[in-house]
């Protein structure tokens, strides 16, 4: 089975974000492989271990996004593809999906795995757009994936439980973080990743034209401030204090 996992490099969720002059999020900061995509890589590896095949990581981003791919390779993925092009900076979700679709088509995968939404942009729109552009059905919000021959079945998380949704390959899957605990890269894995291939592709080679973005940012303002919570230490009177707080909030 040929499995493509899309991987995005994002600012470290544990660091503070800053804005560039054009109101895009600065990428000069610490960057990491999106934690959601780490789960995608893990699921891809588990499916490969169970059914054989190959796991290919595809990313669109600046040159340094190679580090995110390398991280996935050290977990055990086979090779990577990076679409890197200065003209793609500030791409919107549709352009991102077009670029990824063009690169993924060349791989003719059976399965494409994405995270449900990224940690920075969080539009959650790249996967359904990608499925549409690839002409694949989409199995989404998966907390469990089962493959039986050419049938792929997922447990799709819903508000009150889950649905069992199935389709035939090729399909696109979005996974939730409940799918699998990402493995740590072993020292051996890290060493092996150094010699694994990361193919670099220019947007022009894919024939994707950069059109007008879906949105133009006109301004950014501070959100209404949220009041900080109060921490009540338990010195023996905590219960009483909490009851007071709840009573003041008319909860009791």
């Amino acid at each position: 089975m040929k499995i493509v996992v899309t991987v995005k490099q994002v600012p470290d969720p544990n660091s503070n974000l800053t804005l560039e002059a054009d109101n895009t999020i600065s990428r000069e900061k610490e960057v990491v492989l999106d934690p959601g995509d780490e789960c995608g890589v893990e699921e891809g590896l588990q499916l490969k271990e169970a059914h054989g095949g190959e796991v290919i990581l595809v990313s669109m981003g600046p040159e340094r996004a190679k580090d995110a791919i390398r991280k996935g390779l050290s977990m055990g993925a086979d090779r990577g593809v990076l679409i890197s092009d200065a003209s793609l900076a500030g791409a919107d979700a549709l352009l991102t999906a077009r670029v990824l679709a063009a690169a993924i088509k060349q791989e003719e995968p059976d399965l494409v795995i994405c995270a449900t939404e990224s940690y920075d942009g969080s539009t959650g729109m790249v996967p359904p757009m990608l499925a549409e552009l690839l002409g694949f059905p989409q199995l989404t919000f998966a907390k469990k994936v089962e493959v039986d021959g050419s049938t792929v079945k997922v447990h799709r998380q819903t508000a009150d439980g889950y649905q069992i949704v199935e389709a035939s390959t090729p399909v696109l899957i979005t996974v939730t973080a409940a799918i699998a605990e990402p493995r740590y890269a072993s020292l051996k894995g890290i060493m092996a990743a150094r010699s694994k291939e990361i193919k670099q592709v220019a947007a022009s080679e894919l024939g994707v034209e950069k059109g007008q973005p879906a949105e133009t940012i006109e301004g950014v303002v501070e959100a209404e401030a949220r009041k900080a919570g109060e921490v009540i230490e338990d010195d023996g009177s905590a219960v009483e204090k909490i009851v007071q707080v709840l009573a003041a909030a008319k909860v009791l």
């Binding site: 969080s122 729109m125 359904p128 059905p137 998380q157 649905q163 069992i164 409940a178 006109e218």
Partner: protein
């Protein structure tokens, strides 16, 4: 007057509360029509009329309930060609998200996701979108034709204002090629005692709870107070509790007036 199309998500034959909230906004922006797909669409049309839709396009084809996203995308793409709305509004809810993404790609229009509000400006639309995990808010001008905007739940208050809508049968044939992601089974895991969206009191837990084993403590407290338990994105992502319990960013949103 701009024309606004609202995608009314149905859940068990009823219009989802998020979709009714969108109607309040749509009425402010222009002439409103809605589309309702699947079992219950005709009944839904009268609810949508009461919330301000002049016309509701309906189809009760079972494909809309049995297959994910693709049949609804076909229906909306065909409706778009006929009606050419200026703005299409979706709720930022799982089923709507998938349809919106596919539709935007098919129409080559792009979209604005995760918005808190949308206003008319200079003959177009500008959406307010949370930035930096909600610490800031960006104003984004929609460049797409049509403009497609996804709005987070609880951004507006639903209110009935309108009469009966004209119901139009949607003339669209869902081909076999769109019947692919098949919903074979629906499993209900937990019957929430008090629905999170409707709870007056939410007891929310995050990483500080130490682990999933401690969430029953919050259940007890919530039961005692007649509330519901919520959870932060971090612990939901960590798989401690199901997604249905998420509050805050991209989860369930508490309207300011609940208290």
């Amino acid at each position: 007057m701009p024309s606004i199309l609202v995608y009314a998500e149905l859940s068990e034959g009823k219009v989802a509360s998020t979709s009714l909230e969108l109607m309040t906004k749509a009425r402010e922006l222009g002439d409103v029509y809605a589309v309702a797909l699947g079992a219950g669409a005709k009944t839904a049309a009268s609810t949508l009329g009461k919330h301000g839709a002049k016309v509701v396009h309906v189809s009760e084809d079972s494909a809309f309930d049995d297959y994910v996203a693709e049949p609804a995308t076909d229906a909306l793409a065909s409706l778009y060609e006929k009606e050419k709305p200026d703005l299409i509004l979706f709720g930022f809810a799982p089923d709507s998200r998938e349809v919106a993404g596919r539709l935007a790609a098919r129409l080559g229009a792009g979209l604005i996701s995760n918005a808190l509000d949308v206003v008319a400006k200079d003959g177009g639309f500008v959406a307010q979108v949370p930035y930096f995990g909600g610490a800031k808010v960006a104003s984004m001008k929609a460049n797409g034709k049509p403009a497609i905007v996804l709005i987070r739940p609880k951004s507006f208050e639903a209110s009935a204002k309108g009469g009966p809508a004209e119901v139009k049968q949607l003339d669209v044939k869902i081909g076999e090629g769109s019947k692919r992601a098949h919903i074979a089974e629906r499993v209900v895991e937990a019957s929430e005692k008090v629905k999170l969206e409707e709870a007056r009191i939410v007891i929310s837990g995050g990483r500080g709870m130490g682990g999933p084993q401690n969430f029953p403590l919050l259940e007890e407290l919530a039961n005692a107070l007649g509330g519901a338990v919520g959870a932060s994105r971090a612990v939901v992502d960590a798989g401690w509790v199901p997604y249905s319990m998420q509050v805050g960013q991209t989860g369930k949103f508490k309207a300011k007036k609940n208290g």
